[in-house]
């Protein structure tokens, strides 16, 4: 034997042993759940790691940790481990899934986390309660370490009034917050709101605690009156050093400096909600020139030229400047009177700040004096509502005196629109879209149809299919009388059997005989498609003898026929109740046997 062949045999033996161990003695570890939080004594703003390890389950679902007062929960992160161990000569596989949550304490105190229930397939696991002690950061007071609130510069603004909304975030000085903060789930329906701009960072002392305070401001405008509930959620990121997360046994200053030892944790921060009551604009004192402008504005009008010939254009330049709902402002329409022909007013310039709430709008309108008697352009009014003063303000500019000379083609001219229209009938003066529609009876058109509705649509098809099947069967039975009678046979025997039953109970031999005869003739007549006169013991026995029915049953049938004949033709032979019961039982058994055979 060579060295290599000996080595090969040894290897083969070793593999065989391992395979045996694997196949014969492999078991899996007992299922279980473990729950831990580390560290258990920590400071506000210092995150703790909560781990829930599930063993022996295939695909365990992530446990849903309930909200915990004083903690911001994030996660879970999931990791899986599998291992094989030789325990007491048995190979055991151990697979586990670890769910890791980050708990960020927001205030100091003694907290009990748990107990929880965890559903693992059909089993419930009890996770024990764990005590956590959170202490204030160095130099801390009793306030929460991270909180936010939303406030309004105006408590009860008016519809269309532009006002400032502020979000203020207080961050304990020990917490390092990433500059990036985003808004989640902020319902602004009915509000026209621009984006929040950061105003800068300050430091404030609250309850002897130093906070870094970040303020954000947005310009908002309510499009309708009523109550608005503002309760946004902020997504912030806390920067956590890895040393804070787990202790580094080596604490190598060179490596700590070399590698980035920081990571960010997302935190959803509920903002203390704000309810705004938006007031409608008052009806009292509303000027005719009011067209929706709300704010504080100045109004200037320039008319050029003021010395001109009849028919030459005058350009009116209207400038509205100030702060307010510039988006909602329409140009004041001057009523120039019958001596002027007017053209549509157009916005020619718009200069506003980034929020679009402060700046100026410039409009231009062209007017043509049509008559030499036009001495002046009437004054133009601009009405707006000043929310600070809570009253309407009307600014009037003009009138503008004109010095008109006759038209170049001679004489003054007056366009008499009414007489011309009367002469030509209805004259099309312009075109525009059709006006708004009134409120509908139902605002929800074409609701999606339910599953039940579509299921109902199967009814006609099913009914038609059912009727088709029934009519086809009826047609077939009409064509095949023997089959129809064969199917009808058990039903036809029921009446006779009932009669036998009643007669046996009343010990009425004559009636029993009548019932027996009716059952035999009707059942076998239908079963074998025989005319009433043909149903005799011999014919029935002959026909059934070839049908696969056991010979004893055939003999029983013949015997029943004979017994029936003798009872019919020689009554008063002393048939007892037990004889009747036996005959009835036998007949029922025969019918059952006959029904089992194939036609």
């Amino acid at each position: 034997m060579t060295l290599s062949s000996r080595y090969a045999r040894r290897m083969l033996r070793a593999f065989s042993l391992m395979a045996f161990l694997c196949l014969a003695a492999t078991g899996s570890a007992q299922p279980g759940v473990s729950f831990d939080i580390q560290p258990r004594v920590l400071r506000v703003g210092q995150p703790a790691q909560c781990t829930i390890t599930v063993r022996g389950a295939d695909n365990p679902s992530a446990p849903a940790l309930p909200p915990m007062d004083g903690f911001q929960i994030s996660g879970p992160g999931t990791s899986r481990q599998s291992s094989f161990n030789l325990v007491n000569g048995q190979m055991q596989s151990d697979s586990s899934v670890t769910f890791t949550y980050s708990l960020l304490p927001l205030k100091a105190g003694q907290f009990t986390i748990g107990p929880f229930e965890y559903q693992m397939g059909n089993q419930k696991a009890e996770l024990p309660a764990i005590q956590i002690q959170v202490v204030q950061p160095e130099g801390g007071g009793d306030s929460e370490a991270l909180y936010a609130e939303i406030t309004s510069a105006r408590e009860n603004p008016f519809v269309q009034e532009v006002f400032d909304l502020y979000i203020t975030i207080h961050v304990h000085e020990s917490i390092n917050l990433h500059p990036e903060i985003s808004l989640l789930g902020f319902d602004t329906a009915g509000l026209d709101m621009k984006g929040f701009q950061e105003l800068g960072q300050t430091r404030e002392v609250v309850d002897n605690t130093i906070f870094n305070v970040r303020r954000f401001r947005a310009k908002a405008r309510a499009l309708r009156s009523g109550d608005f509930s503002l309760n946004p959620v902020l997504r912030a990121h806390v920067i956590v050093s890895r040393d804070q997360r787990r202790s580094d046994p080596f604490r190598n200053p060179f490596l700590s400096g070399f590698f980035n030892q920081q990571e960010t944790r997302a935190v959803n921060l509920a903002v203390k909600p704000l309810t705004l009551h938006v007031r409608p604009l008052p009806e009292d004192g509303k000027p005719a020139s009011f067209s929706g402008a709300v704010g504080s504005f100045d109004f200037q009008v320039a008319a050029k030229p003021l010395e001109l010939a009849v028919g030459d254009p005058i350009t009116l330049t209207l400038t509205i400047s100030g702060e307010g709902n510039l988006d909602g402002i329409t140009a004041p329409a001057p009523s120039a009177g019958e001596y002027f022909r007017t053209y549509d007013i157009k916005q020619v310039a718009r200069q506003t700040d980034a929020g679009g709430t402060a700046g100026q709008l410039v409009f231009e309108q062209v007017l043509l004096p049509q008559n030499i008697n036009a001495k002046e352009l009437p004054s133009i009014e601009f009405g707006f509502f000043n929310p600070q003063q809570e009253k309407y303000v009307t600014l009037s500019r003009g009138p503008f005196p004109l010095r008109l000379s006759p038209a170049a083609n001679g004489g003054s001219r007056m366009v008499d629109g009414s007489s011309r229209a009367a002469a030509a009938g209805a004259k099309i003066l312009g075109s525009d879209i059709v006006y708004l529609k009134p409120a509908p009876r139902s605002f929800i058109q074409d609701k999606p149809r339910s599953r039940g509705f579509w299921l109902l649509q199967t009814v006609p098809a099913l009914c038609a299919a059912g009727v088709f099947a029934l009519s086809r069967r009826r047609r077939e039975l009409n064509r095949d009388v023997a089959r129809a009678r064969r199917i009808r046979a058990p039903r036809s025997a029921r009446r006779g059997l009932r009669m036998m039953n009643n007669a046996a109970a009343a010990a009425d031999a004559a009636r029993f005989t009548e019932g027996l005869w009716e059952t035999l003739t009707r059942y076998f007549g239908n079963l074998l498609n025989l005319a009433p006169g043909e149903v005799t013991a011999d014919v029935v026995a002959h026909r059934l003898g070839h049908s696969g029915l056991p010979q004893e049953t055939v003999e029983d049938i013949a015997q029943l026929f004979r017994a029936c004949d003798s009872m019919r033709y020689a009554p008063g032979q002393g048939v007892t109740s037990s004889d009747m019961a036996e005959m009835k039982y036998k007949l029922e058994r025969i019918i059952k046997s006959c029904e089992r055979i194939k036609s």
């Binding site: 499009l223 309708r224 879209i433 058109q445 009727v467």
Partner: protein, 256 residues
């Protein structure tokens, strides 16, 4: 039993009043939007109509009025989009048709080409076609049952069945047409000065112009590009240059 009656009464009252309250909220918002429109605050009116749509009030009146507010605000593309959406619910409404034509003609917008059958199909809304189809289906099933049961009048039922079968096919074709429009939707150009290209590349040759408000049919998606058909011609446009008529996406998405 004594306690059950008040509870049942309370449930009945709740079931009667809840939709009413919802409807009252819609009506109030609708009136506020109309008020803003009347005051010339067209952007505000549009925002309020969009709030109504976001709250689930998807009726042709809301789409139509939103179209008007957009039109008056100078957003002709979005006006056409909303008129067309209103037309999907109420295809024979003369006001919607008039405003749609007016808004399109103001910009010399082009339409997608349509067969006569498609034009006929769009005279009824999807819901109307569905109702017609289901009515013919139930009647056809009833006629088939009578045909099977009443042999004496089979010739009459045979003719009726044939007629209903034809109508059922027409109804199904109508539903199919609208379902096709949902699968490969129409879109409205909302950017001015756009052209359709020969290829889905910005540097490729421009094929034909698509003025704002043009109604095109999307045929193919290629990344951020859409292959569209309008006026019998096909070309590629960037997807941000148009808005799909279906589905009724949130107006916030429209604004992006």
């Amino acid at each position: 039993m004594k306690t059950a009656k008040p509870i049942l009464f309370l449930m009945l009252m709740l079931s009667l009043t809840a939709p009413g309250r919802l409807f009252a909220g819609f009506t109030e918002l609708f009136q506020q939007a109309a008020g803003a429109y009347d005051e010339g605050r067209f952007a505000d009116a549009a925002r309020l109509y969009e709030d109504l749509l976001n709250a689930g009030a998807g009726s042709p009146e809301v789409f139509y009025n939103l179209g008007n507010a957009r039109f008056k605000n100078g957003e002709d593309g979005l006006a056409v989009l909303n008129y067309r959406r209103a037309q999907y619910f109420s295809p024979r409404d003369p006001d919607i048709r008039a405003n749609l034509d007016y808004a399109m003609s103001r910009n010399s917008a082009v339409r997608r080409s349509q067969t006569t059958a498609a034009q006929l199909a769009e005279n009824l809304s999807l819901r109307e076609w569905e109702n017609a189809m289901l009515t013919f289906y139930w009647l056809a099933a009833a006629a088939a049952i009578l045909w099977m049961l009443d042999a004496a009048r089979r010739p009459v039922y045979s003719k009726l069945l044939m007629l209903l079968a034809v109508l059922l096919v027409i109804g199904t074709a109508g539903v199919r047409h609208w379902k096709d429009l949902q699968r490969m939707p129409e879109a409205v150009m909302v950017e001015t000065g756009r052209s359709a290209f020969f290829a889905p590349i910005e540097s490729s040759t421009a094929h034909f112009s698509l003025p704002v408000g043009s109604l095109v049919r999307i045929h193919e998606f290629e990344g951020r590009w859409l292959k569209v058909e309008a006026d019998g011609k096909e070309g590629w446009i960037p997807d941000q240059s148009c808005r799909a008529v279906y589905p009724w996406i949130s107006p916030a998405d429209q604004q992006e």
